[in-house]
Symmetry: C2
């Protein structure tokens, strides 16, 4: 690598939290940066469940990638799908055949939800990773209520008003808490034939407790708080079967109009590289987050198996991806100017946060913990702080104010319902 | 009709401006109201072009129908498609076969864009009536710039940066003005290979002037203002042919990556009734807006051929639909309580408004006219006033402030771009 060349080309694939931090961290480094994503926007994934539950609009948690970096003449954004990577030739092949050469490559392609050995479940139980996913889940939730209103058979109506969330991690907990409030509060006065307060929300978790990566005391609090809201929680219950409108777990065989998958993810992008990965598809990276045998290719965030000094896995959350992106930018900068390479990546866990219903949350910063209403304020302020731009922050604060004061959720729109009848 | 019956059933089909006013106007009338629409929301159509141009989000100009009438226990909202109407049996047949009986029926089904004798043009030149239409047009506009950025051939790039709007009415004028500002201002700093300031926006109108229903002086002003913004205007040019990425009008054969249809509409719903309609499909209604031979069936708004005392057609705009809805509600109320039936419907024209670019508009109230910046303020305040709810008004005002001050448009999101390459 010629450290003085002004033309050193860095290609970053994936505009999630990790990729954006790499590009930010390379400001003024003199590199020629190509930023590739198959979508035109960076998404604030921690609030995606609020789009899925009609609380926020997509545009409040998504920003055009090229507008984030409009002032950076060293960054060229490409809306393109990657077809392959040729490490030996040092180039990325785009769909359509165009080759994009690189000196340094950063793979920050994230993860998709995974159905283990049951890909056929996806059609009946969508997962939540992109804003198209969120709009599809929103459509299913809102249509379930509409269909229940039209249904004359009490048993089928009860099935339509049953919502099953699979997976008791933060996304599952936040989805279940929001859906139950949508049904019991927001929609209660809107329907005539269907009583939305009779809606059942069932949260299914295979392990012994919710939020398995959090402190047990916070898991207990989350369970109790969700149960007070009316969520039915089934712990130690692995899902055996999912079908259209039906889910089987433990001894239960439940008719459910809406099933949402928040149980597992699988890393994207590793298949392009001839490297070892763990069973969730995450690339086994070295201490500096480069791949073994190729110091010019880095993998970060959910696509990487990053470890802590004690050997445990770095969690797949936004702060971890951001720290990895900042770290890799420092490594690349130090190489470009011939400076000393930083010590291996050391993840610093800043804390755990989860919202539970409208005005409750849990926050754990290690040295201090909160739960309940005060945690909700901390949760809300922290999330608004991490959004991009003043307008977005005002808009989200306004929406949350309205939910809090008036139970109104702003984005209760069904995009093209198609046929409304059950068969449709 | 039994005027004292508390069970008199009014079925209203279509939740546009007309239908909503009928239901509003029947508050406290003692009727049993069924409100049917195939979508779950009422849409503020006059601002739909702002969704199509990434200025506003769908949730800012759309409200769930059942939440508008949540306090009205006499109103039952059904999300359903109408399959047929049986006037003799006095019932509406829904898709799926369910029959909904009525004593009085109001058809307020609006209009769809129409391609005259060329339905095959629709795939290449979408129109703008629903929010799905708006999101499709937004997707096409934003993808055109993304593809231009990736295109190496200068001629093809120029084609991708050419936008043709067909139809010089208010929607066409507002679309053309907003697209040219999107290209020349909002996006200018965001792209590297493509120079968005070279984008061409062509507005094609078959007639001799823009805004044909407005005063000629305002048409002239609109033309000059659009030309100053950089829009190319072709008057007296009928479109002869539209194909994928190509439009032919007069002597011109233009390669255009994006073509939008704002030229003609055709009424919906008349086919369900065995009544006479005009050549745009509008039902020829009587003075009280009922159909000839059936006093219990009313047709209002864009679905009806409503005339003024001089025989001229009432324009297909929101205030006309609202007035018709209010009028029909009065007729139904007077029949229910046995009061004197109101005189025939008399449309009162309140004025003409159109926005031309970011800070210009024309407003004509008959007794006073404005154009330019002051008209833009009147236009903006009038539109915010007619939105529903404080939250929506604040959100739209915030978005307009950001567009005005910072040229930022909040909703620049491409939903599932699929394949980005031209062939895709």
């Amino acid at each position: 690598m010629d450290a003085t060349s002004p033309k050193h080309r860095v290609v970053v694939i994936g505009a999630g939290f990790g990729g954006v931090e790499v590009v930010r961290g390379l400001a003024g480094a003199g590199a020629d940066i190509i930023f590739i994503d198959r979508r035109n926007h960076h998404l604030f994934q921690p609030l995606l469940y609020q789009v899925a539950t009609a609380s926020l609009s997509p545009s409040e948690i998504a920003w055009p990638i090229r507008s984030i970096f409009k002032g950076r003449r060293d960054v060229r954004t490409m809306l393109a799908r990657v077809d392959n990577i040729e490490p030996a030739e040092k180039r990325v092949i785009l769909e359509g055949g165009e080759a994009v050469p690189f000196d340094t490559l950063v793979l920050a392609t994230g993860a998709r939800h995974s159905y283990f050995d049951h890909p056929e479940w996806e059609a009946h139980a969508p997962g939540l990773k992109t804003f198209d996913d969120a709009l599809e889940i929103r459509r299913r939730i809102l249509l379930a209520f509409e269909r229940a209103e039209l249904e004359h058979d009490p048993e089928r109506r009860a099935g339509l008003l049953t919502f099953v969330v699979v997976g008791g991690g933060p996304t599952g907990v936040e989805l279940a808490g929001t859906i139950v409030e949508l049904a019991h509060d927001t929609l209660a006065a809107d329907f005539r034939a269907a009583d939305t307060r009779e809606a059942r929300v069932i949260l299914v978790e295979a392990g012994p407790r919710l939020l398995p990566s959090y402190l047990p005391a916070l898991s207990d609090y989350a369970r109790q708080a969700l149960e007070r809201l009316g969520v039915e929680i089934r712990l130690g219950a692995a899902v055996d079967h999912i079908d259209e409108g039906r889910v089987v777990f433990g001894d239960h065989d439940v008719a459910a109009g809406t099933i949402i998958w928040a149980a597992g993810v699988r890393a994207s992008g590793a298949a392009w590289l001839d490297v070892d990965s763990d069973k969730a598809g995450r690339v086994l990276v070295q201490g500096d987050l480069s791949v073994p045998g190729d110091p010019d290719i880095f993998v970060i965030g959910d696509a990487a198996h990053m470890t802590r000094p004690d050997g445990s896995l770095v969690p797949g959350i936004a702060p971890a991806a951001k720290q990895a992106g900042q770290y890799v930018a420092r490594v690349i900068r130090s190489r470009l100017c011939g400076a000393k390479v930083p010590p291996p990546f050391a993840y610093h866990h800043q804390g755990d946060l989860a919202q539970i219903g409208k005005r409750r949350a849990i926050t754990d910063f290690g040295w201090i913990r909160f739960r309940g209403a005060i945690a909700w304020w901390i949760w809300g302020i922290a999330h608004i702080y991490f959004l991009i731009g003043v307008r977005t922050r005002l808009a989200v604060a306004l929406d949350w104010l309205w939910i809090s004061l008036r139970n109104q959720r702003s984005a209760r729109l069904i995009s093209d319902p198609g046929s409304v009848s059950q068969e449709g």
